[in-house]
Symmetry: C2
Subunit: 651 residues, 2 copies
């Protein structure tokens, strides 16, 4: 960890600033003093025992700057205790991954001297965030100076101040040197190579590294498909009934890659120490509100919200709203088909080059409208899910993901299903697929990386220029760095990135047999996606807090659901191909029975395969069982020693 | 626990005998002396610290009696320590279930005085079995007196002696008083009532109680089906195309009852303290053999067997064997259809009452042949799975269950599927189903309870008579009781009982829409099954060691797989009904598309339902999270105390 940036704490000694806390500029003095005291207090007194100082404005400091910006750090010892608190796993002397304990610290592989450099800066920042979030009210009834900002014993102080708007933001600082090195090896090098996943994990945490790992894996997995797709495209362009083999390949492919990813992600997570890490007890999310009651699990006073009320909100408001949106999306689809028919009519009346181009216009407009609808719906879904008032962040996320997935799936694929199975027009299907895919890719890249970059550039053009220059060239005073980073946009998590991959996976696995170039396009898109995502993480956004993750979570399930739908769709497409139909010239019934039988067989094999392939590779399973065995043995030994100390003659 | 039976241990004090160990009569003196010493040795010296005495032959003792019969017991204190070792869960003062610890013993609800009566006799016996199994070789190279009976450090002594045949059996003793009370409330009372599941669990352990709980639940769940079935049978006997509604009911029924059972079984297991109990580290099964190597998990010397070799055995021998058996079963089925045709021909030529009866003969013969084939295959499967040389008992069981299930499913249902979907003869289907069901039920009841009972009765008619009389009337000397029980048959586990339920579930869920009386027959069968199973457990078999179980294990999966097959089958039956066909008079294709669409919708709903319904009821989830939360809090507190003791000034 860099120690070049440092501020003086109240004792006069220096500490490395890790995290920035920004309060609104008009915050009352007493609230600030109280908060700082609580952060500094010893742990046995209920404090966080961290180091915190106000940021002294730099040379360029103006009147307009917010004075209430604080930097937080901690002593190395405090951080090591914190690492034990959050349950960090580190490599042990014998090569296995074990939960770090302070008492045992010298037995960990990379622990040298007093432990400086043992924790990465991202880990330190995660620990500090954890300790800040766990700073709980004692007997204060409210935040000093704000009688309306109620507190009760055990309530997280930071969360309350954040949800009430006094606390603007808490964010970790970038490390200039590290970032420079990471950017270089990640996206500035032109050489074709794997991404530096370990470095990404080191800087951004496991959640982010798993996303980039998945993106890379997905791209590599698509390459065989793309390679098969190119000759298909080149030589069989008009012979679209030859897609049966391709559809069969599709089926096997999407099952196998998802299973293999599970194993790969388990390997990665084991190496990063998150695989067997226990989840911390989940606190209510900041936005959760309700009547103060007693939590049956913790026995603590806490706001409670009746489950029945939440169910009513979900079933009487959210579900109808989602259905209405689906209906709207269907309506827009019908308008698209009208436009399509109209364009075709014009082209038929007067077939020139320009009317030929006109044929693509409806699809392009439709693709743009789809993207806009997805975007609007995304905000609506977030608002609705917030209003449903879920207690835990994880439940909130599940409901949000479900809402967004259902709508996006419908919105993006309904027209393709309609063309494929109702109109049965394979030429139009291919054309729509190509237009949708290309347009949405271009729009996405613009919306996601270049638009925020450009906006930010415009917003503080001067400051930005200076940052770019100084971040790369010479030292920048701490206050300047903090000010610059505070103004950067906040990265909202991997949700949108995964969603995009999910839709791309859908295009490829559902319909690429009709348009084999789809895989090629997605590979190209993913390669640029790696670069644009890496660029936005390093240059556009504030550094996010690292998020420990053992797998890609609910997305694994979403991708698996998509692969089941892909089996059904591909079987139906195979059944509709003239090639297969020619085998059953007299009886359509028999054809359908065979296709349905084949589909059931495939679905059954898929489930058996999922069941048979172990989710964790054998060598990691052995390591995990060894740890478990050792802890059992240690427990047994301890008990036996205790037992032998007690006289046993009193039968 | 009864203390009426007691023997004197070497110190002259008495102990209650719990478990019997029988060695072959010609065992060498030194081996016996060594074994007894190891059993008696203190735990810190690697012994089991149990009490063990040779059984003194009673008055009727003859020369022929085996003298090497030993009874094992333990002091209360030893048993309480053992309860902690095996991880027993007991009710805590606050009503929650917690892992028992000796140090904390007075905080458990039923702990009074010195703890006498805190553990049930079944629990004590389970603890003793666990301690005996965990008696491990130290530096002995072989069993004294038997140079060929190799040992190595860490090898379970009892398992080695058992697999080498010196140790004939280890079994727990019955409790006469308890057994009498249990029998009365279980099956001697004529009053209709629920089974005394808690008492069954108390006497036979959780695994057995869950089986009887499932049997009872399954029977109750069938009652609505039986009630609907009777009017169907009475009024629509020949109108078999009215079964659509019934098939629809079937679909919903089999999904819902399996989901609800999961919740019920979680409630039962929570109350019995097995739900959150951690599984002990699994030892290799007694029959496992291989070359001595180092186990990568435990680091101990242990026989290893190459996985590749095992896979070869599985894929080159077992799989072809199973396929051959399936082919044979198919062949027998074809013979059955020939016989059926021949009987029909005779009846058509000369239709009398006797030739009418003749129509049922082929089905009855076929049902008997099926049962015989199942039985032979069962032994073959057990032999083959043993020969595959699986290291763990659980893997062995999984492979055995898979082999047996596939064959039994095929053997029992292939002819029905053939009649339903190839011959499409609903009258024959109903007739076959009825004959199969009734014949197999009668055969099963005979094979399972009355045959062993009769065999045993014949084998030692005199001894048995005496036992029946004395077991119920007056005290019997210990040596007599041990001798009688040692001669009883050994109960081989719940496998066959579950298998029978599985097949019955299949008959009902797959085809009961064609023969609505099936549910009624199964209900009747299950009611008698409860009585015959209860009778065989109490009167025919040796007491089995109790087996802690949190659920019905692999059987839940098997029943769920069957319910998926039931959805497909019922949809196909609905599609074939004239009633449904009449809706699509012109197009068969459209009919099939609708049925397939409906089936996919049902399968999807089924999976969503499985996902949405929580497997553990809410109130138990809250209790479990509270325990977890408390242990986390306790850990945190302990760490904070430790941390505050260490000076923190050395930054």
């Amino acid at each position: 960890m860099q120690k070049s940036l440092s501020v003086y704490d109240s004792d006069g000694s220096t500490f490395a600033p890790l995290v920035v806390i920004e309060l609104v500029s008009e915050t009352k003095e007493e609230a600030i003093a109280w908060l700082l005291n609580r952060v500094r207090d010893k742990q046995q007194d209920g404090g966080a025992e961290l180091l915190v100082e106000q940021l002294t404005p730099g040379a360029q400091g103006t009147e307009k700057d917010n004075p209430n910006v604080y930097v937080v750090g901690a002593s190395w010892q405090r951080l090591l205790y914190g690492a034990e608190d959050v349950g960090l796993f580190k490599e042990f002397n014998d090569g296995s991954m074990r939960g770090f304990t302070y008492a045992n610290k010298h037995n960990f592989k990379e622990f040298q001297g007093d432990g400086d450099g043992f924790l990465s800066m991202a880990e330190c920042q995660y620990i500090i965030k954890h300790e800040l979030d766990n700073l709980r009210a004692k007997d204060e009834a409210h935040v000093p100076g704000y009688p309306k900002m109620k507190l009760y014993p055990g309530k997280s102080v930071i969360r309350r101040m954040q949800s009430k708007g006094i606390l603007v933001q808490v964010f970790p600082l970038h490390e200039k040197e590290e970032l420079k090195r990471l950017s270089f090896s990640w996206f500035k090098k032109i050489k074709l190579s794997f991404q530096p996943l370990d470095d990404i994990r080191h800087y951004f945490g496991e959640g982010m590294a798993l996303y980039f790992g998945f993106l890379e894996y997905f791209t590599l997995a698509l390459i065989p498909m793309a390679l098969i797709g190119i000759p298909y495209y080149l030589f069989d362009w008009e012979d679209y009934d030859k897609f049966t083999v391709f559809a069969g390949f599709n089926l096997v492919w999407c099952t196998v890659i998802l299973e293999l990813w599970k194993r790969l992600s388990a390997s990665l997570a084991y190496g990063w120490g998150t695989l067997s890490r226990k989840k911390a007890f989940e606190e209510p999310r900041p936005g959760f509100h309700g009547v103060l009651g007693v939590n049956p699990v913790t026995g603590r006073a806490e706001p409670l919200y009746s489950n029945a009320k939440r169910q009513l909100r979900i079933y009487l408001v959210s579900v109808p709203f989602v259905l209405l949106c689906l209906y709207l999306s269907l309506y827009v689809m019908m308008i698209y088909f009208d436009m399509e028919g109209w364009a075709l009519m014009i082209h038929d009346e007067e077939p020139t080059f320009w009317t030929g181009l006109l044929l693509f216009i409806p699809s392009i407009i439709y693709a743009v409208v789809i993207e806009i609808m997805n975007l609007i719906y995304r905000y609506a879904a977030e608002f609705l899910t917030g209003w449903e008032n879920h207690r835990l962040e994880s439940t909130f996320q599940n409901h949000l993901v479900l809402k967004v997935l259902v709508f996006n799936f419908f919105n993006c694929f309904a027209s393709l299903f309609y063309i494929a199975f109702v109109m049965q027009d394979m030429v139009l299907l291919r054309q729509s697929l190509a237009t949708l895919l290309i347009t949405s890719q271009i729009l996405n890249q613009i919306m996601e990386a270049f638009l925020p970059y450009w906006l930010q550039r415009r917003r503080n053009k001067k400051a930005h220029k200076r940052m770019i220059k100084t971040m790369e060239d010479k030292e920048l005073p701490l206050s300047e760095q903090v000010k610059l980073e505070a103004d950067m946009s906040t990265y909202l998590g991997t949700f949108d990135d995964y969603l995009e991959l999910f839709l791309l996976f859908g295009y490829v696995s559902l319909f690429s047999c009709v348009y084999p170039l789809a895989a090629v396009l997605v590979v190209l898109n993913n390669v640029t996606e790696v670069y644009s995502d890496a660029f936005k993480m390093c240059k556009v956004f504030k550094r996010p807090f690292s998020e420990p993750a053992a797998n890609i979570g609910v997305w694994q399930l979403a991708f698996e659901a998509m692969s089941v739908i892909a089996v059904v769709t591909n079987c139906a497409l195979i059944g509709m191909s003239p090639q297969v139909k020619s085998y059953f010239p007299e009886s359509e019934t028999q054809l359908i029975m065979w296709v349905v039988g084949f589909e059931h067989f495939l679905l059954a094999s898929k489930f058996i395969l999922t069941f048979v392939i172990p989710d964790v590779p054998k060598h990691i399973q052995i390591k995990l069982s060894r740890l478990e065995f050792e802890s059992l043995e240690a427990l047994k030994k301890r008990k036996m020693l205790e037992a032998s100390g007690i006289p046993k003659t009193d039968k």
